[in-house]
Symmetry: C2
Subunit: 162 residues, 2 copies
């Protein structure tokens, strides 16, 4: 049995206790952008319930064109007004460089990716980089509450980056 | 008090019961790509615990360059081997077209986004589109278990797209 099959069996149990459809727009009018890291359970970390917030995630929790696309749709079509960014301690993105990752791919498959891997060497600095990418982007209309945090995987605590 | 402040208060309670650091690589060697929709609690839907799976999310749960970046890092550096794609019923991406969304942005701020909005008219067809974007991508090495689902927001059930 694959892990996917095991998780589908879990879904049967989830559906058995499911209480029906909620509205499409996020009830708390907030969008979260977080790293894909397995240890960040965004709903748990922020005490969110189903239906309350958009959750956008990728390697590093960085802001690239696709996060701008998602945030633009979130704010312009679905009414979110606040943005919470979450990076975290012990992040995989701290363990390599773009150059070495892309070189390893080129050696493996013969093609060098045209995209940046978005590795970073300083957590707080990269949270600030992501905040700045949002604040300077013309397609995101609501920027009054855009705040960035580092989640501590040892304590479960969010620490704000100023 | 902003919603962000309210969620930070929730985080204090989460941290108070936190049980300490887990390993960086996902224990179940699986990466999930899902829509950002507020009603999809990925940990709940799949019965996942902290530390078990990478979770990548965006508007639609579509596969663009940034999801390829995240999946390449997930598989090549952090050992995941299976991919689960999740779209869902009542998705916002079914309610507009790329052309009209980009035109509305251009009318608002004077600039037309250079990116695709990735709206779609058929859920199952877009799951297949996303599966094909992964299966044909040279940077994703492990493709033996790449499966796509539509989450039913009325029942909580994942229905596989074949």
């Amino acid at each position: 049995m694959s892990v996917t099959d095991e998780l589908l069996a879990n879904n049967d149990r989830y559906a058995a206790n499911f209480t029906g459809p909620l509205p499409l727009p996020p009830a708390k009018h907030v969008a979260v952008v977080a790293c894909m890291d397995a240890r960040i359970n965004v709903y748990g970390v922020l005490g969110l319930n189903e239906g309350e917030a958009h959750v956008i995630r990728n390697a590093g929790g960085v802001i690239t064109e696709d996060e701008i696309r998602s945030l633009a749709i979130s704010q312009r079509l679905l009414g979110t007004e606040e943005i919470i960014l979450i990076h975290h301690t012990d992040c995989g993105m701290l363990t390599f460089t773009d150059d070495e990752f892309k070189k390893s791919i080129q050696e493996d498959v013969g093609i060098k990716p045209g995209w940046a891997a978005e590795a970073f060497a300083d957590l707080d600095a990269d949270v600030r980089q992501s905040l700045t990418r949002i604040r300077t982007n013309p397609f995101i209309p609501k920027k009054d509450s855009v705040r960035g945090f580092v989640f501590d995987v040892a304590t479960g605590k969010l620490n704000e980056v100023s």
